[in-house]
């Protein structure tokens, strides 16, 4: 048993606590943040490599065996998300130093950020349904706090919406956990899978599954539970917007995939039409919303809704190819969208607004920004050879293979709109002439993470084969739940 599996939770949690204690030592905090960020990246990558080499890993917290203690489980899917999360998080942390103004803000922000990170990693690793609830809560609570800490009017407005829906969803989560515990008498997800298997078509199981879709769908901004997203993503401090769109909405997606590939395997057919319908609506409405916006961050926020629809479409195919496509989509979209949000933050710093009509001239002011932004735009638009192309390609291929023509058609139409609204936004910001000079100069420190993520999106396109293979391997693993169950329940 190696401790590698628990480190992605321990390090950020310990860092957060340390940052709280180092409240009055800005320099020490800076060092701690730097070191532990790098450490987390190293740990997450080596964990992914280990899982890839040795198969699914499990860890007994407190030394209690499954199903009695809380088991941490790392399979390829969670490993991939851990790595994706840490890439985005490192960029967001770096960005935040230049983005935030006072030391008081930074002290609070970074402590909360590392709590958030710990919760995110925990959500990906936990093998216990109630622990997942707790992890979700830590994620949510950190988001509430990070969203409202700067106290802008829009943030307060978004905050009240998010927290109301968040509390509602937490209650529903508890209701669902209650139902499933009453039914199967256990909380460990692998054990639940075993216990529920013979009774998969009991009405209670379907009800619980649907409640979980409601709860996780709210986190993932699946229509019609997406209402919070545009406001929250557009008003949150930019590093948090990047985290939200890049990785945090994927926590919900992850959870849905996990339960439907482990606990409710036999309900896949029962839920397929439902999920695909929601996915199509999400794709379409998100894109429509994005077309309607005049505020760049809101364009990106609606775009995230739309892209979540794509991911759910991949899930809804319930095939290895579809799930592999969805996983690759998660990776690719995470990086691209984080880059775009961070780019939007650069603009916000320059002019203090996100209204696109107030911006312009970026081609003259900073060609390099224009380029990074454009890479993001074309990647998300699905132009090859960027990774965005492969994410859409795989999805469409999986859909056509499974004979889901209608969703594929919707996806194709929507992807046109995606390209359209992104190009429009890019033009308005980079090409249009703008009389007013920016209030602040462009901060090159802010540009670094934008560029890193944009280039990563490109690299992910050029060297997509290993990542695609990894995503598909993860998908195959997901469709062989016995592996997971054995790793948890078998010899440990």
């Amino acid at each position: 048993m190696s401790h590698l599996l628990v480190l992605p939770i321990l390090i950020p949690l310990g860092t957060a606590i340390l940052l709280l204690l180092l409240r009055f030592q800005p320099m020490a905090r800076r060092i701690v943040i730097g070191l532990s960020s790098l450490l987390i990246v190293a740990v997450n990558i080596s964990l992914l490599l280990k899982i890839n080499a040795e198969g699914i890993q499990s860890y007994r917290t407190g030394g209690w065996a499954a199903p009695y203690g809380i088991i941490l489980v790392g399979d390829l899917f969670s490993g991939i998300l851990l790595v994706l999360g840490c890439v985005i998080a490192v960029c967001a942390v770096y960005y935040s130093f230049a983005y935030l103004k006072t030391d008081a803000q930074k002290a609070l922000f970074h402590a909360l950020f590392f709590f958030l990170w710990a919760g995110t990693n925990g959500s990906f690793l936990t093998g216990d349904i109630f622990n997942l609830f707790v992890m979700f809560e830590i994620v949510l609570m950190s988001i509430y706090a990070l969203l409202t800490m700067l106290g802008e009017k829009k943030q307060i407005e978004a905050g009240i919406k998010l927290i109301s829906m968040g509390l509602l969803s937490s209650a529903l989560f508890l209701v669902a956990v209650g139902g499933i515990y009453a039914f199967a008498g256990t909380l460990n997800m692998a054990d639940l899978a075993v216990k529920i298997k013979p009774h998969a078509h009991h009405p209670l199981v379907s009800a619980v599954a649907m409640l979980f879709i409601g709860v996780f769908g709210l986190k993932a901004a699946l229509m019609p539970m997406h209402f919070w997203l545009p406001d929250v993503h557009s008003s949150a401090p930019t590093p948090i917007s990047a985290m939200l769109s890049g990785i945090l909405i994927k926590v919900g997606v992850y959870a849905i995939i996990r339960i439907f590939c482990l606990i409710f395997v036999d309900l896949q057919g029962h839920f397929q039409t439902f999920i695909l319908t929601l996915a199509c609506i999400t794709m379409f409405v998100g894109a429509m919303g994005a077309v309607a916006q005049t505020d760049l961050k809101r364009v990106l926020a609606y775009s995230s809704v739309s892209q979540i629809g794509y991911i759910f479409m991949g899930i809804g195919f319930f095939s290895v190819a579809g799930m592999g496509a969805a996983i690759f989509y998660i990776i690719s979209h995470g990086i691209i969208k984080a880059s775009l949000f961070l780019a939007a933050g650069v603009l916000k710093k320059m002019r203090g607004t996100m209204e696109m009509s107030e911006h312009g001239n970026m081609m003259k002011i900073s060609p390099i920004f224009t380029l990074f932004f454009l890479i993001g735009v074309f990647s998300l638009g699905g132009i090859p050879p960027s990774s965005g192309f492969f994410m859409k390609f795989q999805l469409i291929k999986a859909g056509l293979d499974g004979a889901f023509y209608l969703p594929v058609a919707v996806a194709l139409v929507v992807s046109l709109f995606t390209l359209f609204y992104l190009i429009q936004a890019w033009q308005k910001i980079c090409l249009h002439t703008q009389e007013k000079a920016p209030e602040n100069p462009l901060n090159p420190h802010l540009l670094v993470p934008v560029g890193v993520l944009a280039l990563l999106a490109l690299v992910l396109g050029f060297a997509s084969a290993p990542v695609i293979d990894l995503a598909n391997a993860a998908s195959e693993q997901l469709f062989t739940p016995e592996l997971y169950i054995n790793a948890v329940m078998g010899k440990q």
Binding site: M1, H3, V6, L10, L13, I17, L21, Y59, R60, T61
Partner: protein
């Protein structure tokens, strides 16, 4: 001007409340109680003091840093207990029970690491509740 009667009663009740909360904390592993309950109980005691004497008498405003480090320290304590489990017991949060022969009184005392964890919980709950009160009370 707050009621004199209430203030006097607070002087009597709040120390009892505190010692009762410590009792609940330390026996939580065996009987109802534990970190949450005790922490909330202690904060109820502080609330009572706040209600009776306002911010000034106990000087909540200037002690807010104490409560801040109370909850961060509590978090650190729980976390370190977990880490100790990792280094000593082989798993994160692995608990251990030690039986120690106490000097002078020659009794065999049982120390559970989970109790230390619970004390961390206690500190967090208490620190957070009082911080919340202070923050809001100060607004008032």
């Amino acid at each position: 001007m707050n009621s004199l009667i209430f203030k006097t009663i607070t002087k009597v009740v709040s120390p009892i409340l505190m010692i009762f909360s410590l009792y609940l904390l330390l026996r939580g592993h065996q009987l109802p109680g534990g970190g949450f309950i005790a922490g909330l109980m202690t904060s109820a005691g502080f609330v009572m003091i706040y209600l009776a004497y306002g911010c000034e008498r106990f000087d909540f405003k200037h002690r807010s840093r104490v409560f801040y480090f109370m909850f961060s320290g509590g978090l650190a304590l729980s976390f370190l207990t977990g880490l100790a489990g990792l280094f000593v017991g082989g798993y994160f949060l692995k608990s251990g029970v030690a039986h120690v022969e106490m000097p002078l009184i020659h009794e065999n005392w049982e120390f559970a690491s989970a109790a230390v964890f619970d004390i961390g919980v206690y500190l967090v709950v208490c620190g957070v509740c009082v911080s919340l009160m202070t923050l809001l009370g100060e607004e008032e």
